[in-house]
């Protein structure tokens, strides 16, 4: 494993107060990554959407109802203690998915995957999708497919790759420019660049000069309350999905609204009031 200091840790933070639920991120992702479509996509349990937008409500009756939209890409979990043993990576029997210690990105190799779906069972975010059918494009439409992402075949699992091909292209550009380093603006995911509200910020969580780092302020030390949790945000408005499981996602969410932040995880009665004020307090600045 490459464990040098310079290792990147790409992640994103999504401002749920800005998100309008327009679905542009989802379509930008589909179009960027050659995601197929079929006649009926209304069964969301077999509809491939690397980026899915969930609709959350506070459950209060009229007129106190509130709604917020939560875009959910692959969370690119670092796994317990952020050691790279993501729930899905550690279970894949054929090494068809791995954790890139140089980028923190979880890969998926379609030609290696043989479709046992263990990774899907292991992922609590339902971020992994199975190709139940062979992808078919209407006559002629395959002309818009991008060569940067290989189309998948029936019977394999696919998921969001943080548009890794854009990283590959950015790297090549950096090589010819001689710099070798990929600038923040040169590697942005398709959902990030597409979002009309600018709700998504993407970059290197390890790089203090990157916007995502400045918003999230990830805590390098394990959470004293739960040693499995690393990189907890020191921004009181920022949270992660199911953080308590110790999956250590690299996708952070942000909201002014308490009920939204509480939606991010499970809390026993009374726990929330203890936890909510602790946000960020675990920092050791």
């Amino acid at each position: 494993m490459i464990h040098d200091k310079k290792a990147h840790k790409y992640g994103m933070v999504i401002d749920l107060d800005k998100c309008t639920g327009c679905g542009t991120c989802a379509v930008s992702c589909m179009s960027e990554n050659n995601v197929p479509f079929k006649e009926d996509e209304s069964d969301k349990k077999d509809s491939i959407t690397w980026m899915r937008v969930y609709r959350l409500t506070n459950g209060r009756p009229f007129p106190d109802t509130e709604v917020v939209y939560m875009p959910r890409p692959c969370q690119h979990c670092g796994g317990k203690g952020d050691h790279g043993h993501s729930p899905c990576v550690s279970v894949c029997p054929a090494t068809a998915t791995d954790y890139g210690y140089d980028t923190g990105i979880v890969s998926q190799i379609y030609t290696r995957c043989f479709g046992c779906r263990y990774c899907m069972a292991a992922c609590p975010y339902h971020a992994r999708y199975f190709n139940w059918w062979d992808p078919v494009w209407p006559e002629g439409m395959e002309k818009y497919l991008s060569p940067n992402v290989s189309p998948r075949m029936r019977g394999v699992v696919e998921k969001c790759s943080f548009c890794y091909h854009r990283y590959q292209l950015a790297r090549e550009k950096a090589y010819v420019n001689g710099s070798g380093e990929v600038p923040e603006e040169d590697y942005q995911t398709a959902c990030t660049t597409a979002c009309p509200a600018g709700a998504i910020v993407f970059g290197d969580l390890n790089n203090p000069s990157h916007k995502v780092h400045q918003i999230v302020k990830p805590d390098p030390h394990p959470d004293p309350l739960n040693p499995d949790v690393v990189g907890k945000s020191r921004n009181p408005r920022v949270f992660r999905l199911l953080e308590r499981l110790g999956t250590n996602p690299k996708v952070y969410y942000m909201s002014e609204r308490e009920w939204v932040r509480k939606m991010g995880d499970h809390y026993l009665d009374g726990e929330w009031d203890k936890v909510k004020n602790v946000y960020g307090s675990a920092s050791h600045e």
């Binding site: 043993h85 550690s90 894949c92 290696r112 043989f114 479709g115 069972a121 339902h126 991010g264």
Partner: protein
């Protein structure tokens, strides 16, 4: 009869046409399953009702269940060859055949259950040793080899085959070295039965499944091995009982039955104690530690209510255990039958919970319960092994000396005539 030459010496068997008729009926079911299997292979898994929430479903449950039930083979073998419990020689052959059926079925179902069957061997070739499923695949296939080895001598004892000197000796020699194979089998079984439990236990993204454990092995690892050893023999006993009913003959002496039932009973009781502790610890420490109350995992919809917990642990766990350790109930044929049936249901229920309920329970706070009804293709392919098992048992019983005590127990009354 035309196939008399193949029938074990002195054994009484039904007429050949009658036999073939039975085979034909079951064969039809088999073909139905084969058709469904081919559909899944050629058209893909869209033939099933699985989805992205239910990536693991009926098939994986069937796998776990048959392997648990097939556990009778390794455990009986262990007792017979390692712990030298000699009476068991009278049932070991049958235990092995049942095991053979279960494991071959499991492998077949796995081969249907993967999206790219032709790449299935990647699990060995490009193995990721950190995955419990890899461990399952390896130990499963190795142990299947062991079962084949254990089955061969019995086949070679067929009256005609046995006349070939080489086969005759091979059978003999393999019997001689069987202890080594049995030991290896036990070793392998310990791991693959366990890793099947591990499959669920290591999914730390799924609070319903995840368990603490020892080193890399979650507690469910050991519970699965233990339960397989405990409940497997019950399945052996059940199938023996059914065979006796069908053939209308007594095939195994009661003392053997009682012994195995007793051992199984004590295994079940001890397992249930462990299981109760595990459940309690999980419900009161593991899950709450992740923010989940027990009530989160059980709904009032008919499929996933609390009843399943009660049914698995009390009705089909503790009760059969107690019935089997208690001499009077154990030796009473009816109570014994009830007990082994409950036990078989119990272990299947446990595997069911450890597969389907895990998939159904919502994990993200805003997620919902997933429901799933298998398609007929899934059902057919799951019934396929049953039909295949019946046929194999039928042939084995007809042509092989499976039950050493059969002749002795079914002597023609000499005093008459």
């Amino acid at each position: 009869m035309m196939d008399a030459a193949l029938i074990p010496e002195g054994a009484k068997r039904c007429s050949f046409p009658k036999f073939m008729l039975g085979i034909a009926i079951v064969g039809a079911v088999l073909l139905w399953g084969v058709y469904a299997m081919l559909l899944c292979w050629f058209k893909g898994l869209n033939q099933t009702n699985m989805n992205d929430y239910y990536g693991f479903a009926l098939w994986i449950w069937a796998d776990l269940a048959v392997i648990a039930l097939g556990g009778g083979a390794f455990f009986t073998g262990l007792l017979k060859y390692i712990f030298k419990v000699d009476e068991l020689k009278n049932i070991i052959n049958f235990a092995v055949i049942i095991g053979f059926i279960c494991y071959s079925s499991a492998l077949l179902i796995l081969a249907i259950d993967i999206g790219q069957p032709l790449r299935g061997w990647f699990i060995f070739w490009h193995a990721n040793v950190h995955s419990m499923l890899t461990e399952v695949a390896f130990c499963l296939s190795c142990y299947f080899a062991v079962l084949t080895i254990e089955f061969i001598p019995n086949i070679l004892e067929n009256r005609q085959l046995n006349k070939v000197p080489f086969f005759h000796h091979l059978a003999h020699n393999m019997h001689g070295t069987m202890a080594v194979f049995a030991a290896t089998g036990a070793f392998l079984s310990f791991f693959h039965q366990g890793s099947l439990g591990g499959v669920a236990g290591v999914m730390y993204g799924r609070p319903f499944a995840v368990r603490e454990g020892l080193l890399i092995w979650p507690w469910s690892f050991f519970l699965f091995t233990w339960s397989a050893a405990a409940f497997g023999p019950c399945f052996t006993l059940l199938v023996t009982r059914i065979t006796e009913a069908v053939t209308g003959k007594k095939l195994v002496k009661d003392n053997v039955i009682h012994l195995l039932a007793k051992i199984s009973g004590w295994m079940i009781v001890t397992y249930m104690i462990a299981k109760l502790i595990d459940t309690w610890y999980w419900a009161y420490y593991t899950a709450p530690g992740l923010g989940f109350e027990l009530s989160h995992f059980y709904t009032n919809n008919g499929f996933y209510g609390y009843w399943i917990l009660v049914a698995e642990i009390i009705v089909c766990g503790v009760i059969p255990g107690l019935l089997l350790i208690n001499k009077s109930t154990r030796e009473n044929p009816n109570f014994r039958l009830i007990a082994i049936i409950l036990a078989v249901i119990g272990v299947s229920l446990n595997r069911w919970v450890m597969v389907l309920q895990i998939m159904a329970v919502p994990v993200m706070p805003f997620d919902t319960w997933a429901l799933y009804i298998p398609s007929w293709q899934e059902v057919a392919t799951t019934i396929l092994p049953v039909a295949y098992g019946i046929i194999l048992i039928a042939f084995a019983y007809r042509y092989l000396p499976v039950f050493p005590q059969e002749l002795e127990l079914n002597q023609p009354k000499v005093q008459e005539s």
